[in-house]
Amino acid sequence: MANTDTQKKSSKESSKNSALNIIDKIWNAHVVKQLEGHPAVLSIDLMLIHEVTSAQAFQTIDQKGLKVFAPSALLATIDHSIPTRKNRHEIFDEAARVQVETLRQNCKNHGIAFMDFDSGNQGIVHVVGPELGATQPGMTVVCGDSHTSTHGAFGALAFGIGTSEVGHVLATGCLLQEKPKTMKVEFKGNFKIGVYAKDAILALIGEIGIGGATGHVIEYTGDAIRAMSMEERMTVCNMSIECGARAGLIAPDEKAYSYIKGRRYAPVASIWDKAVERWNSFKSDAGACYDQNLTIDLDNLGPMITWGTNPGQAAQLSQAVPSPSDFSDPAKKVATEKALDYVGLEAGAQLTGTPVDWAFVGSCTNGRIEDLRIAAGILKGRKVNPNVTFYVVPGSEVVMAQAQKEGLDVIFTEAGAQFRMPGCSLCLGMNDDKVPAGKRCVSSSNRNFMGRQGPGSVTHLASPATVAASAIEGKLTSPVDYLPKA
């Protein structure tokens, strides 16, 4: 079970202590100017752009007669409002069609690299950036999307911003920012069979709640983090926002450098060694201070599931649905009552065995090739329950091509799942893909707010393995029995 040990430090000692943490180092390296009592003017190395939060930003700079400050520091794609059916070029929703076309035009007008349909690189913005080697250690990375924290997996300070701030970066290459507080979260121990990075981050959010890290940037440390692949690290960092954190990051190492090497925007061979030397400087010093410290023990962690209407309402799948009377805090009691009422679960009932109608493997959290491989490994030779509609949505055209090369698409379709085109899909009920009202979906995405996946729908967040096992059984099911024993 997750064990926490929260120590609050009364004030940061960094003024007396010359040991800096990684967040301090990236921050210091990017402050252009800071007047007394003013926020810092922070230089932004990379901004990723998608169609939903950019149109108004471009309108602002056009209205002000400003040019884009640094087109080469920008990268755009389409993901949120596009269809994921095969004939996705035909966007039936007029407003979505206009949104996509507006971004296409804006990128053309301002000379911004745009990963369009069939470019070979279109996809979910937080899958595409790292795939292209655009995300690098020590960078400041922003996007008009809260899951920008994903890029922290590479040791970048990466955070979500609103549309107005997208405009600020377009116009100036900078943002006004107050320095955040810092939190260190150490993941100790080893994953048991059937337990993954998604379960680890759900355990953290379940422990500290959806406002537990507000105002902080989290550094994730520990042997378990070092043992994770880059894709697993991206899953962890992706959901930092779900406990209220501004951003979450992991110090870079050889795994990060190997991932980046050779990709389109990676430093070229002639400057590679120098780049790695610079990247190595973005690690926390021994003795560095944080405003808060936490430890999560993974040794006893089982597959996790959310039972309620926010990501903090999570439990181990082996447990029972909590009861309002389990909570002494009156606000938590009320929140639990309301959540259980919405999701239609009885306090005390076993979570496993809850029938599901829909299943989703995809999203910026768990839509990469390793996620698809895990799901395919469980589905191979088995069938999806006839009552379940199961979408498998690769996070990008690159992931899709790789999945097809490995024959995963055939495994999915033979099992009775739908292998669809890349995009955000069912994550947020914004495009054509929606979970119908009254239906329950087990999903590898990142939010289970009321109606998130479609009005009146219920969402249970889980790892891709848990999603696949649940889709086979037609009810919430642990993946443990579907995996080869160690």
Binding site: V32, V41, Q56, H168, A171, G211, G244
Partner: protein, 193 residues
């Protein structure tokens, strides 16, 4: 960017913790390329599900201030949430605490967020049920006057306050350092070659 120096209005109490931006404006309504038109879908799902939801109650019509619990505005970074509140006629939210990105987005739009102590918020949430409970917010003085005349001070970031009161735009402020920014970026580019 409009900036309200003083706001006097009856309140709409929203006794909910963790009001997320999907509740405030579902993603389905974010396909517009304009900043307008979101007001009519403010809290739409909650309004549809519950006839007693505060926005549905006649007594709160005309309220320009929402009073809420902890972590108001959590979840997605969608600035559309602020546009929806503004479009629906609200000028401020007074709460126990706010989520970071939502707080930043609000400041960029001149939409006022005020944090007050828990006991005071709890009192206003209770007394606000009358439908005629008024608050007066003075950004200059950083005070809120409760219905019974008590004045409570609130903290507000001095820089944001200055920008709000003077209608200052972040882009203009940042560009006032244009030369330094260019020099900084040129130097950074060199160190990476």
């Amino acid at each position: 960017m409009k900036a309200y120096k003083t706001i006097k209005s009856k309140v709409m109490p929203l006794p909910l913790k963790d009001v997320d931006t999907d509740m405030i404006i579902p993603a389905q309504f974010m396909t517009s390329i304009s900043r307008d038109g979101y007001g009519e879908n403010l809290f739409v799902r909650l309004r549809q599900a519950d006839p007693q939801f505060p926005s549905n109650q006649e007594k709160y019509k005309g309220a320009e201030i929402i009073v809420a619990d902890h972590n108001f505005g959590c979840g997605s970074s969608r600035e559309h949430a602020v546009w929806a509140l503004d479009g629906a006629g609200f000028k401020a939210v007074v709460a126990k605490s706010f989520a970071d990105i939502f707080a930043g987005n609000s400041a960029k739009n001149g939409f006022l967020l005020v944090v007050l102590p828990e006991e005071i918020i709890d009192r206003i949430l209770l007394e606000g049920r009358s439908g005629s409970y008024e608050l007066s917010i003075d950004l200059e003085k950083q005070t809120v006057r409760l219905a019974d005349g008590t004045e409570v001070s609130f903290e507000y970031n001095p820089f944001r306050k200055h920008c709000l009161l003077n209608g200052l735009d972040d882009i203009d402020y940042i560009l006032s350092f244009k030369d330094e920014i260019k020099a900084f970026k040129d130097k950074s580019a060199l160190t990476q070659k």
